[in-house]
Symmetry: C2
DNA sequence: CCGAATCCGCAGTGATACTG
DNA sequence: CAGTATCACTGCGGATTCGG
């Protein structure tokens, strides 16, 4: 399985050799949100051919970016996880995603939103300065979507699924239809078109902490 | 020329649709260093097929990332430049390149280094904190390579070619052979195996300003 | 059901040659 | 110098099949 090379001794070229193939960075993004099984990945990557996913996972495993593990406690089966160097890709993914977000425009027909993509946008929108020193937890709910964001002394834990323990504030965005994109979630929050349960004063904190300095 | 899509309303997916095709980000990297002509690009991207370069440039132009211009003063001809949104890709390129640099290992046989790639590594290595408030200029020379780095009150101008005006310090790295990779340049500087012309005290400043906090 | 492997048609790519 | 043109090849997309 000889991989195609760029012939340059350059960090960018090497990065593209390792994660530049089609679908590769999207797979890493999904795994950065949380460990996933093969079929979870298929579901979160609309239209990926199963043979391509299989090939990418092997390449990423060989590159030391992805690990294949037997799932721990309840559900057994195989899960794919990022290794340490895979996790170090997160800043690159977030930075590239921030740029892409400026090019998004309106959703095109058929384009979907997944919990993993919203998770990464939420991480990309995290404003370290605004969060400094804060401790609080939120749970965001919308159709097909539950996310948690926990701040511990300014350090974020942002991911899909409910907050561990009880969230200080549960924000429910009462929209219809499919999973809404992050921008529509934030729009609803800033207009107050949300249902709150818990410390209502933390809604404003949330929008400030999850709006990047340069805006998305 | 229908472009392949990922079917996700997500910044990362959109970014990959726009600059995820083979060679695209390397072309953007070369143009981020300085405007280049078609044949300059061919020369700086070892092994790129000319038809692929041609196709990519058209796609990038249509995406509003690259502009085709008639060269200004002396040499006439066509040059390709980044648009504003193309220039906004630079943080993403630098971040991805920093990750790739951690995966580089030793140069593989036949891998080359180009002035554009070294320029981008120099920009990626810039340490804003260490540079704060400084004003100074350097010129780095090595076989096949001349770079300038100008600091004005902490603001960097880093690119290929000699410094505008006279550099405060000219650092010549006396190596043989092809263009050396950035890491070898820095190694030589930190060991003092360089020739200096100008304010010799600025050598140490240079190595501090161009070593990122987490090291490359 | 999960986790793939296999087969096929086609589009994107690589290599080379050629042209305004 | 700045690209087209041609053609072989391979990776990708789509579907189906297969073993645990």
């Amino acid at each position: 399985m000889k991989r195609r090379e760029f012939g340059q001794y350059c960090g960018l070229a090497r990065a593209l050799e390792l994660v530049g193939e089609r679908w590769a960075l999207l797979i890493v993004r999904d795994l950065a949100a949380r460990p996933r099984r093969y079929t979870d990945l298929i579901e979160g990557l609309p239209g990926i051919p199963s043979n391509v996913l299989s090939t990418r996972l092997k390449e990423l495993e060989q590159a030391g970016i992805v690990e294949r593990q037997v799932a721990p406690a309840p559900q057994r089966g195989l899960v794919y996880t990022l290794t340490a160097s895979g996790r170090e890709l997160e800043p690159a993914i977030l930075t590239l995603g921030r740029w892409g977000a400026t090019q998004l425009g309106e959703p095109r027909p058929g384009e979907i939103v997944t919990p993993e993509s919203v998770t990464m946008v939420l991480r990309a929108s995290f404003n370290e300065t605004a969060a400094a020193g804060l401790t609080a937890s939120w749970e965001v709910r919308a159709p097909g979507l539950v996310l948690h964001a926990v701040l511990t002394d300014g350090k974020p834990d942002i991911g899909p699924g409910p907050a561990p323990g009880d969230a200080d504030l549960v924000i429910t965005v009462p929209l219809d239809g499919e999973i809404p994109a992050y921008r529509y979630l934030m729009q609803a929050m800033k207009c107050g078109l949300v249902e709150l349960a818990g410390r209502r004063d933390l809604l404003d904190t949330f929008t400030r902490v999850f709006t990047p300095p340069q805006a998305v």
